[in-house]
């Protein structure tokens, strides 16, 4: 669920013609954070992007980096510069990563916020985060009323993703 807002925002931009997906066609890209139990998998297929947290599959591109570098990257830090400083390891095509990073730059979403519940009280945090997601979706939707209803539904049913659930069991 924590990637819901990100996925929605990306696909909204794709649908409104503001993002060019061609360079990423059929690519799967994984960001694995070294200091947090977080994986972010971007799957570009069938003219849209899926964002999922958990996959055992081999991806086309694998990127390992710390949370700090990850957030810096999405706040506009230069990828080539970070590579030169050995701040991240990329297995796969660097150009593909650059395309995805460019794409994420056009999404006005606070990734730090999207992922930060791993460090705090999950439920209390979740409500706050969903509320922020809703505000974001309402602002960036062609149907704000629908977005608001989606957000309220989420507040009531509190979705959680598989990986989080799995971790809770052990």
């Amino acid at each position: 669920m924590q990637y819901f807002a990100l996925e929605q925002a990306l696909n909204y931009l794709i649908q409104t013609g503001n993002l060019d997906l061609k360079p990423l066609d059929n690519k799967t890209i994984r960001f694995a954070l070294q200091d947090l139990p977080i994986e972010l998998n971007f799957i570009s297929a069938n003219g849209r992007i899926f964002v999922i947290s958990d996959t055992e599959r081999q991806n086309d591109v694998d990127i390992r980096l710390s949370a700090g570098v990850f957030f810096a990257l999405f706040k506009g830090e230069d990828l080539t510069e970070l590579l030169k400083q050995d701040k991240l390891i990329i297995h796969g095509d660097v150009k593909t990563v650059q395309c995805l990073v460019d794409l994420l730059h056009s999404v006005d979403i606070d990734l730090e916020e999207v992922l930060s519940h791993y460090t705090g009280d999950i439920i209390a945090h979740k409500a706050g985060k969903i509320a922020k997601d809703v505000k974001h979706l309402v602002q960036h939707s062609n149907n704000p009323l629908d977005a608001l209803k989606d957000g309220l539904s989420q507040l009531l049913i509190m979705p959680t993703v598989s990986k989080l659930y799995k971790n809770n069991r052990h």
């Binding site: 069938n46 899926f50 599959r57 989606d150 539904s153 009531l156 049913i157 659930y165």
Partner: protein, 246 residues
């Protein structure tokens, strides 16, 4: 396939299950929407809303809703795909499909196609849908693995499968309340409102027999999907599995 399978908590001959399930839905069809609202206290609308929002369906897409019953998902998909898209509402049960047709007409929704089919044998070409959904239907299907591989076959590469189904909660307290509610209150409400206790007893039992989140995820992957992730809703009482064909 084994010679026996479960129908709720009962073991029955595999070949008989479909007929028994048909009996349940023939019996509940006319009161289905009312009972859904009463029994879930309206929550099924929120779970379905979340499913639609997670679908990534866009204008021009081709969507198949399996076991679609009275058409809640099909109605929402119709709005999403626009004039250039196509939505098919399908179900094995003629009485449920008929209720679906009435519901859509009453709501002024047109342009949805209706097909009576069994999820295990989908009469569509390979790689033809952008999204396939099944809400609260999979647990009634006799051979779930066959149904899952059929869904995989008809999806385009990059197509998305959505399975919304009752599941397993991890919270001991929630589980206790939920068990009490499903085995005591639900059948009684079924008797009072729909004059049908047995069908609602089956509903409660079939939920307990349905594979848990992790097992279903494995089965989705085994059916050929490249990715599968599930989202627990309402503490895991319901789960949305999302499979992506690569």
């Amino acid at each position: 396939m084994n010679n026996t399978t479960h129908f709720g908590f009962k073991d029955v001959a595999t070949k008989d299950k479909q007929h028994l399930v048909k009996g349940v839905f023939d019996s509940v069809a006319s009161k289905y929407d009312l009972m859904n609202d009463v029994l879930s206290l309206g929550a099924h609308r929120l779970w379905k809303r979340y499913t639609i929002a997670s679908s990534n369906v866009k204008t021009g897409d081709k969507v198949l809703d399996i076991a679609g019953g009275t058409g809640d998902l099909a109605i929402a998909f119709r709005q999403k795909v626009g004039k250039s898209g196509q939505v098919i509402l399908s179900d094995i049960n003629a009485a449920m499909l008929n209720e679906g047709r009435k519901n859509l007409i009453n709501k002024g929704v047109f342009g949805v196609d209706f097909v009576q089919l069994n999820a295990q044998y989908l009469p569509f070409a390979d790689n033809s849908f952008d999204c396939v959904s099944i809400a609260f239907g999979l647990r009634n299907v006799t051979d779930k693995d066959q149904a899952l591989s059929e869904m995989h076959r008809i999806l385009k590469p990059g197509g998305c499968l959505l399975i919304l189904e009752f599941s397993t909660t991890d919270s001991k307290l929630l589980k206790k309340c939920y068990d009490f509610y499903s085995f005591n209150i639900m059948p009684t409400l079924g008797e009072l409102i729909a004059d049908d206790k047995a069908s609602y007893q089956y509903l409660a039992e079939s939920i307990r027999k349905h594979p848990d989140q992790e097992t279903l995820k494995d089965r989705v992957l085994e059916a050929g999907f490249g990715f599968c992730e599930y989202h627990n809703l309402s503490g895991g009482i319901v789960a949305l599995h999302k499979g992506i064909k690569v």
